[in-house]
Symmetry: C2
Subunit: 276 residues, 2 copies
Amino acid sequence: MAAGPELTNIRSPRVKAARRLAKRAFRERDRAFLAEGPQAVREAVALGGVVTEMFVTAEARARHAEIVEQAIRAGVPVLSVSGEVMAELAQTVTPQGLLAVCRFVHVPLTEAVGPGARLVAVMAHVRDPGNAGTVLRTADAAGADAVVFTDASVDPYNGKCVRAGAGSLFHLPVAIGVNVRDAVAHMRATGLRVLAADGAGTATLDDVDLGHPTAWIFGNEAWGLPDDVLALADEVVRVPIYGRAESLNLATAAAVCLYASAQAMRASPRAVASGG
Amino acid sequence: MAAGPELTNIRSPRVKAARRLAKRAFRERDRAFLAEGPQAVREAVALGGVVTEMFVTAEARARHAEIVEQAIRAGVPVLSVSGEVMAELAQTVTPQGLLAVCRFVHVPLTEAVGPGARLVAVMAHVRDPGNAGTVLRTADAAGADAVVFTDASVDPYNGKCVRAGAGSLFHLPVAIGVNVRDAVAHMRATGLRVLAADGAGTATLDDVDLGHPTAWIFGNEAWGLPDDVLALADEVVRVPIYGRAESLNLATAAAVCLYASAQAMRASPRAVASGG
């Protein structure tokens, strides 16, 4: 189970090749990205065929032996690296000693959202990678069938997004770079009702019968969704504000919407019957 | 409406006095904190008797004239400052040019949570100020009657918490530094059911009848709530995970719990009748 001598040179070609995946242009060229920390790396390894290389410190190898062993069994090259090399590769202040180079995992929209889909989250203008990752994780938790990143949203392979997603990128089908009009047309053709979540909505979450297969569109952190996207939706829905806050933050509002849908569909036999 | 010459010296005593409020020890000595940006400053000014001094750049004075005028009408000393001074005072990378020195706004627990209370959020071990501020804002949006920060949680006057709270600190009663046992005892004496939100809960949100006045206890981002706090609750409740995510993040889980309670109580005449 030894993995050769510890790599200590931060200028080694393999370290440099991995490190530049922090930049989107290199990710797109190599069609690869970095997953950092035990949670994301464990999920990436479990998915199979995704991890092409793993970097691990001696300490992390001892602490997360089962992850490293599973990677080795799957034929993934595992490189032992010094703390200094890990610090060079990792994008966090206190790296957890485990980092995987992963192949892109997204799928075409038509594959992500098929006829049986009941709950889909569409990120239409989400720019903050932490928010995008949190919505992805929440959609996964709420049992969504897919998550769609439009071409106006952040890159889901951004390191912050991968971290905030906590492994969910490896759990459910993700489509990326889709034009929002095409996304909405496809959802509707698939039988999903399209709801835009926006503070400008005339209907509130309490007014809408959520017991139907639904695609939720989420907008920008600061300014919500543009009028042309709102116009695409079957209904614009806001989370009701019962108190004095002006609004909710994006990830919080998305959580309330996605869970409200998930729970309403569980309570509705019709939606269950239409499910896959 | 002129406010004297523009202050350009970052070493001026007033700038130094305000700047050190970034540190908790000075906040506690002066019983004062900083609110940054138009949203928080507007709410602080609107509350009355809270803002003791305001710093504003020429640009922000033009853009947010109504906030500055309201402060001046209320007798708040408003200091014009250069961009350099604002950068020294502000805790954000791109300051919005408006910053208020505010008196502490918290109240005793018994005042925050009175007999009519129907929904309370208790942060028992929340350490990340951004998360704490987000939960505060969500509790405000969900119509909570109060938010309680126990002595094991982050300081709500931390700049990041104030910013993430987006003005909610000025909207609803907040109690701070309370021992969690005392908090729970008081909630129960007030007629609130005490629910601990934790991934270890045996009951899920779907199993619990939420149509009763409720205090929710939220724990730490990484490890939830300690056993002794779980033991204090009437019930330990988890947000159901319908998909493959291991968990939800703290602020997201809190949003789902608080909104589920708010909506169930709205649907329940008994809870409304017991409300204030």
